[in-house]
Amino acid sequence: MTARSVSITFAGSGGAGVMTAGNMLLDAAGRAGWYAYMTRSSGAQIRGGEAAAMMRLSTSPVQSHDDRFDVLVAIDWQNVGRFSAEIPMTSDGLVLGDPDGGEFPEQIGAKGARRADIPFKKMAKEIEGGRPNMIALGAVAGLVGLPEDAVLGVVRDSLAKKGEAARTASEASVRAGMAFAAGLPACPRLAAAEGQSERLWSITGNEAAGLGAVRGGIRFVAAYPITPGTEVLEWLAPNLAKLGGVLVQAEDELASINQIIGASYAGVPSLTATSGPGLALMTESLGLAVASETPITVVNVMRGGPSTGIPVKSEQSDLNIALYGLHGDAPHLVVAPNSLADCAFSTQWAVHLADSLQTAAIVLSDQSLGQSRATIAPPADPGFRAIRLMPEGEAAERYRRYTNTASGVSPMAVPGMKGYQYTADGLEHNEYGTPSSAAADHSAQLDKRLRKLAVHDYGQHWADIEGDGDIAVLTWGSTTGPVREALERFRASGGRARLVSIRLISPVRPEQLAAALEGVARVLVVEQSHGAQFHRYLRAHYDLPGSVRAFHRPGPLPIRPNEIFRQLADWS
């Protein structure tokens, strides 16, 4: 039995090496021409807690999970039961575990999946320096039909620095696992890989966001660590240095956003990354960037909220604060990547827009995009750069920094430009930047700051629109992945439906959405928030045609394709 997609979970206690096994399986699949996607789940312990690597291997690009897992392999059973809700399985599934791996969790047993034993510990003892996780890797590779060469190649490269003995032991472990797999109950094997013209990348969404930032021209980053946004900053730290840029670790998020405002004012495209609580702290200064017209980009990797919430799990519940968290009338950009690979494009585009429009851009990524790893076709550089309108020539008269142009964008000088000195101000000001509480100045500057966002040509990137038919699914961000998959199934079953995934959340594009929904009689809104934040945003800013249903649920459990498929199939 072959399948176009196979899903596997590696689980075990801390130190069992399940993430290593998962990463190696992902890389091996990528090298052999398959696409792979992996999310990670771990206990609350800082170090040494139980962990699970949830994988999906596929013949076509994949950046979200399936409805169920085909294989669960537990190197041991310690606390693995607590991941049960995240590992849906049916009676077709296969659960593999070590009879010496501790007590088998009731919750896993309740799934009714088939069970088989692999004596990891015993097998590892028979190999000098043998490793149970490498045996598990070999067993899974054997079960799903990954070629031995690809797996051993990854093992060799990964352990290059660990020495001959470690490498030999791991290779022997993988081979033992593969040999053992031949005697295990059958599970779906991956259909043959479809030819790839170029070598795939292995990348996380947070790394992709960092890449998009430097492609866009970001050369200053201020950083304050927070889960799950930190890896954006950690990827940028060494890579920005290689480009001659600078990353400064700030004392808090208030400092990090103000440092980037300072650096950008000084002429260097600047960015920070954070997550919900950090974004909340930054909102006052986001308003400063808007009022002083200083371009900045903030990548916010959403997690469960409010307050500390669920830091390691995904949710789309920072939409409201990103849109409405600023005091006063403060138009700004909100851009949302809708896939792991799109974290690169959307961040780069946001950087470009922020500098072009001299305002603040918030990139709304989330934990499930940011901390997932996938093999993807190398994303081409779309060419968007941070380019600012600057004054030219010698300053003839007193410089009007905030001159009221037709486009709303005023030439922005940077320190060092003789004759163009001005004071950037969060106080309302006149065209020169001089503080003013006059009604006419306030109204003129408010109009200007709104107009520059409203009249800009955002092109086709404001949304991804796919398919046709009189049913439309409206979604954004990471839920786009399962929606796409649900729509494929819906079409395969004879239905017709279109996808509209909105990338440019702010400013709103009512005319474009109306055109995208032309002829639609039913709209299904899909999002991962308890308060239906996206649905309410749509209701506030757009006219939705026909009847509208909202399918929304909070994190931490991901919304799966079949749940959306059922919404469509049952709505008739």
């Binding site: 890389d27 990528g30 070598r199 795939l200 990348w201 292995s202 890449l211 430097v214 050369r219 200053f220 201020a222 890579n239 240095a241 290689k242 480009l243 001659g244 840029g245 600078v246 990353l247 400064v248 700030a250 004392e251 208030l254 400092a255 990090s256 956003i257 103000n258 440092q259 980037i260 405002i261 300072g262 650096a263 950008s264 004012y265 000084a266 002429g267 260097v268 600047s270 200064s285 400063l288 002083s292 093999t375 190398p378 550089d381 320190p415 060092g416 430009m417 003789k418 004759g419 163009y420 000195q421 001005y422 004071t423 950037a424 101000d425 969060g426 106080l427 930047g433 001089t434 503080p435």
Partner: protein
């Protein structure tokens, strides 16, 4: 930053704008504005090469009254903005300025970490022991028994913050105190602070004649520091802990290396970074 011989000479007036200050008549901040512009003229720094950053409060209005590149940000965040400017454009002369509430209360964490980070800039705090813009509340440097605020009619009952001691403990590289009434002396302190590498902190006693009229007496209370500045933090700490708060002059001069990350590219393009992703 040393002036070079090729720089044209400037007068203090070249650094002033035509914007009329919102300050009350008699406010010490007028004189501080004069001292800053005199110091810049003394150093002959072109106005376009200076970034002057402030937060919120009476004294934070200062940048708009100058003819340098200014940034009037939000309350308490002048130092992070100044840090971003200096780290990304090290050739600029960067000055942050503001009041005691802005710098020591809402911006207290940044003050501590700016001292510690030791970026080459100068921080001027016009200290009048009161929030003036919000009409007279106690600040971190207000005495515990000051009862004139509606917000704390019995006084704050808590000891004032000692900015110079905190600055020293946190790692500031240059510490001075001045009095706004002595415009030339203060200009000299600011000149030295700008010249000194690393984070230079200058506390300027700048009377609020409106909410703290008794501060008019400061002119009779200030006195020059009896001894030369030390480079020994332990000795500086003893002096700062025991002085009367009116000791004026350079009080500490450290020699810590300023924070300035290297900006040397080692790859030709972003495409070179992408190799790490290729399987």
């Amino acid at each position: 930053m040393e002036a070079t011989s090729t720089c044209p000479s400037y007068s203090a007036r070249d650094y002033k704008s035509e914007v009329k200050p919102v300050w009350c008549p008699g406010c010490g901040d007028y004189s501080v504005l004069g001292s800053i512009t005199k110091a810049l003229a003394e150093l002959s720094i072109p106005p376009e090469s200076v970034a002057l950053v402030s937060g919120i409060g009476c004294s934070s209005r200062l940048p708009a009254y100058t003819n340098v590149f200014g940034f009037h940000g939000v309350h308490g965040r002048a130092l992070p903005i100044a840090t971003g400017i200096k780290v990304s454009r090290p050739e600029l002369t960067v000055i942050a300025s503001g009041g005691d509430g802005d710098g020591f209360s809402i911006g207290g964490n940044h003050f501590m970490h700016a001292c510690r980070r030791n970026v080459d800039m100068t921080y001027i705090v016009m200290d009048n022991e009161v929030y003036g813009m919000t009409k007279g509340q106690a600040s971190p440097t207000t005495a515990p028994d000051w009862e004139k605020s509606k917000l704390t009619p019995q006084g704050t009952g808590i000891n004032p913050f000692h900015p110079l001691v905190i600055a020293l403990a946190a790692g500031a590289n240059f510490i001075a105190r001045g009095f706004s009434g002595d415009q030339n002396g203060t200009a000299q302190l600011i000149t030295e602070a700008i010249r000194h590498p690393g984070f230079s902190f200058v506390q300027l006693l700048s009377p609020c004649v409106t909410f703290r009229p008794e501060q008019r007496d400061w002119k009779d209370m200030v006195h020059p520091a009896a001894v030369d500045p030390t480079d020994d933090p332990a000795r500086a700490a003893r002096r700062l802990m025991t002085d009367d708060g009116f000791n004026v002059g350079v009080l500490y001069r450290g020699s810590r290396k300023p924070f300035q990350p290297e900006r040397q590219a080692s790859v030709d393009s972003v495409a070179d970074l992408e190799k790490e992703f290729v399987l």
